[in-house]
Symmetry: T
Subunit: 148 residues, 12 copies
């Protein structure tokens, strides 16, 4: 069973960037914590972060071609305008769980809408970096529902 | 430790109502499943469902007065217009986790916005009835973050 | 064969309330007139009015559970914002005929749209209190179309 | 007593056109059925259909000049933009009953509004071709209200 | 002479709820203060608060039937969407004075508009809980204008 | 020198139609009055009215082909949506003076905008049927400006 | 008989200012031309121009108090936002004819609407500086309609 | 203790202007009535009205520099667009009570919003000219809240 | 094999009308060029142009009844508002290729949207009168895809 | 003569991706088919696809610097938001033909508008992958119009 | 060489007014600093501030008539609605540099747009009172570009 | 002291691209001119241009990590939609001065708003390529304000 943890623009600066909004953990901290969870469940985890929209698209295509079992995706600012990422997700059959660290509904109005959400399997926001852990739980729960 | 599982209008018809959108489980099924999870964690769980906005407000006030530890709330259709429920949540200090069974972003446009979300601790949608389980996990994770 | 005549907020004040818009008949007058029509057609009629959204939802659920043959519904002001009532109607398979006494299109702009209409079997407005009679005829015509 | 049954653009293709939306009956079927109802009530019925906006306006003017007793009008697509038809109706004192076969509120958003409705005596939609029969009943009921 | 002091959802939590917005006084404090003012002016005062929209409607109907002399009404969050309350007020001839504790124009945009205001005799906001006193003065001034 | 007096839909009903908005004069009255003014100035006048958009377009094309000196045009309801008439006017070099009997800015909001105005030489409204006389004066003044 | 020719901001720069839009005539040229027309008709003419909104309001009040026979008013840029001027006009019973030199409908979108128009007796635009002459004719025609 | 009663454009025409909207009292009547109330409370009152936005701004600056105790302000039409007045009020620490004679919410839509309200201490409307008396009471009540 | 070349309002003036936008070719030139292409491919071509919306609808109905193989349609200004033409196209199974001579996206904003496009088989614009040739090629390519 | 066939994000997944919308052909199939057409016309063809907006911009710059004869461009999702691509096209004099495989007007509303179209030489959509062939024909036709 | 430093409403209160937004310098401080810069460059400087829109218009007209070399203009709140000031600037050929002390894009949404900007030579904001110095540099740089 | 001169998409084509909008200077010209200014002030300057959004984000992150003293940034078309760039700037404490060569307020409406501006230290536009010099002056002035 294989899972991709995908992070979009500026998430490489987690911990350094506006800690009142995003918390003090770094992306490396999160990735190693999810790695531990994956190890416990015998899941192969790959982690990838990029500030370049097209590189994220390429990773999503690759995941689709290899038919992995799921993607946990924090699209960062691309959430609000990257129709190209939306189309990439729509073009694969791998379920994508969309996660946001902050509560996007308490911030600027343009952050309230997600062009990704309509093609995501589910969305969660506002749980801080613990949102990645919940997304991992969601992945496990989604897997159980499927016939083996 | 005490938790309230609160459900809004029409959720008493889960299982009977549009199974392609909401799944085949009944509300009683969900409530007993969350009860088991609560028992395992030594958490006192109360469950309440109403189709009357004001009764939900009363329950939220009561939870605030008694300073319980959290509320998992599926506001149903009230999500989209009940500013009174929003004000009720804003008037208490108990964290509220907003959950939706379906992916509200793939449905009619008026379902894409939530007047509740800006006062919720976090929001999740699209995970089917498993969303309640995730909300329970979220409640546990939120608790851990707090100083004992 | 069973029919429910359901009236929403303020319709208990028909006759007293703004007669230039709503006419001089009271709700009791209308209910007894429709009762006579129902008697003539051997239809069991139940009448219910409430100013409380949730009580109307409960009645709709009950009609759905008992699988009655139709509902004639004047949602009053709830027409314009009660998504909870819309969801209640969508959750049952009983056909609902939406009726308005006044021509909602000649009044304030917010009265021109109905959140109920997309889930109603049909809608009629502007015929005064005779609209209830027409709705009854519509119910009969709809019945004929169905295989017995 | 005289009544005009007026149909706008594309309604000459009823039965041939999108039967899932408009049903299998032809316009001729409807016109002869309403003719029978008119005969039973000793009402002179005239039927007219045109795809040309101005010809419909001419008919409405003529009905106004001759002071007939009512018009049942399905304006088809003109419902949504023909202010000229609206003005024609406003310029006569003959009551016009607006009828739509389909539930316009479940279709494309531009079909939800009617520029005709504010000058119509009443409006009904969603009852299939039985809507014409109801409109005829509405005409009779409206007549009764008036002093002879 | 009779006056109704009517309060909508969440106002039972005044004093407990967000004191920076609503002040430290409780609803009981306000009601007894207005009671004293009423006593001084030989006015019979009734006080009612509810979180249930329909119960407020019922009270308004009752005041209309009994033809009392005025209503001071803080509709709370219902200010912004309860067309049913608006219709209830429009259906009676008792003047209604709309009062808000906070300055609704400095808060979220959806709080800037009131569906109640167009049917109110007058509106005031931003004076804290002293707004109830002003509303009482307004009631007295309004009374004077009328022929006895 | 040649002038066309062109009138759009429903203007054949002037005098019969809503006299509080449009006055008591008939179109024939106006046409003969403008004829007298034209005679005094040795101008050939043609008058045309139609309820059919395409016939008005044909007349405008014809005027363009024959290079007459001006058109006085009351487009009636077509003012607000007939882009086809706008394009017809844009396709000729004959100046078109747009006239409205009523003050379109005091009526329904959809009457406040004219799709014709951007291609008209000038526009006037609100002067009652005297607006046609003013349009005739405008035509004369416009002529004077041009080199003979 | 008395008439006021009133001009708003920047019209003192006519002739100097953007001649392709406004023509080469100065305001003095126009005022003396209208003076000649007034003399021929035995009408007392007063002319006033100001760049200060409040001074124009004062003039309008004065005209209202003195009950003169009409105002020809080019409000310049105030056309589009001065509700204060609109209210001034609404507060008097003297008819105001609104005139614009350019065709405001072919310019920036914000110039297409006039807050003055709904309280004006009539409006004309696009006839260049000849629009003032037409407005004078309109004034004469309007006078004729009134009983002496 | 010092108070400024400030009135904006067209309010000098109170009594003459549209009495059905604004009542029959003149501004002088109101000013002398408020003067009597001020005398009774040992408050120095200054009254000022202008149709010129900048003169009102100057008065507000002056009140701010002299640190008087309050301003009662009816901004008239400037309510709806004078951001300059808003900024003037924001630049002083004197509390400003905004008053409107008519119920602005029952009039044209552009009158429903106030650019002044977000910087006002409180707002009241719809109480006729008695609104000034209420504003005076509000001023007294506001004073009491402050530490001496 | 049979093809209809259909042109809407004002296209009869091609060549005469605004050559900088539409080019110097006449409609007759285009029709004879497409005729030659049709002859080469053994396709029966019919050409029709009208300024009357209803006549175009009639032609589309006729093409639908006779089940011809395709329609190349330039709806002219009707592109932007004729829902009646849209419904006519939706009511037949003949594929319709929508063509515009100019690039509608570089012109006025109201020309950017087409009510016809959602029911067209394909759309092309901006290729000048060569767009008709391309539409013909598109027709041939579409035919090849179908099973013979 | 030189032509560039440029494809934007996700078009590398043609054939794999949503075949009901985009068909079963791969991008390689299309490129080799257009290569054959280019060979027949002695045109040098270059093909390029990227998911990275900036790489597409670079290619467009390069084509502009080398002054090739045309670009056929399917911008994919960038159609709807990449103003940077629009500016790149505006900065070169090489004509760009915009092509879309699906009928963008029958899909989500955000796909109905193209920020690229105003700077494209022409646009075509809805012809499936045959749209590329038509674009090639369009390129040839455009070339003919130019003086050699 | 001559330069006008023009300041709009409320800028006379700089230093007193909201120092967190506008800084602690007074307008006199700024004017004397720019005077020194002007002296160093042998430029005649005139300074003017007014809260009255029409007085600013008069100054701009005067600058235009005297053909001075430039205007540095902070329009204050007039930035957002004074089309009259915009027209005044458009009516002269003197270049106007628009300056704002605060970053208008981080404040209320209505401050994000400037009706002045489209007729300004350039705009700068967010640099505090140093913005005036930069505007002076901009004036010098603009001068250099011109042929002497 | 260290400064980064950052340029976004298409700015590598300055001089080649639309010289009427952007002038004849190349980016290299600008960079060497700013280099000279930097040398004079003993400032280390780095220059970077990219058409790839993510590469610009990387440079901004790097500048933030190295805590340089300022960034002059012309985001080109990204100004209008790259929320990712906005977030990158928000994530660092280095002040960013936003510069545009053209007056964005006289171009297409979508160019009037900047998603970057709310996180920029200041913004300037419309000064041609001299805007970079002004931005450099702004950088120096900003530095002076800070404590050394």
């Amino acid at each position: 069973m294989e899972l991709l943890l995908l992070n979009g623009p500026n998430l490489n600066r987690l911990g350094k960037r506006e800690p009142d909004i995003y918390g003090a953990e770094t992306l490396a901290d999160i990735e190693s914590r999810i790695q531990r969870l994956a190890d416990e469940s015998d899941i192969t985890l790959a982690c990838f972060q990029s500030n370049i929209e097209g590189e994220l698209i390429n990773k999503i295509h690759d995941a689709g071609d290899r038919e992995i079992d799921g993607i946990i995706f924090n699209p960062g600012a691309f959430t609000h305008y990257s129709i190209a990422l939306r189309d990439a997700i729509a073009s694969i059959s791998v379920p994508v769980i969309e996660v946001h660290i902050s509560n996007i509904h308490t911030r600027e109005e343009f952050r309230h809408t997600s062009v990704i959400a309509p093609v995501a399997a589910g969305q969660l926001c506002g749980f801080g970096t613990a949102g990645y852990d919940l997304a991992f739980q969601a992945f496990l729960l989604k897997r159980k529902e499927r016939p083996s």
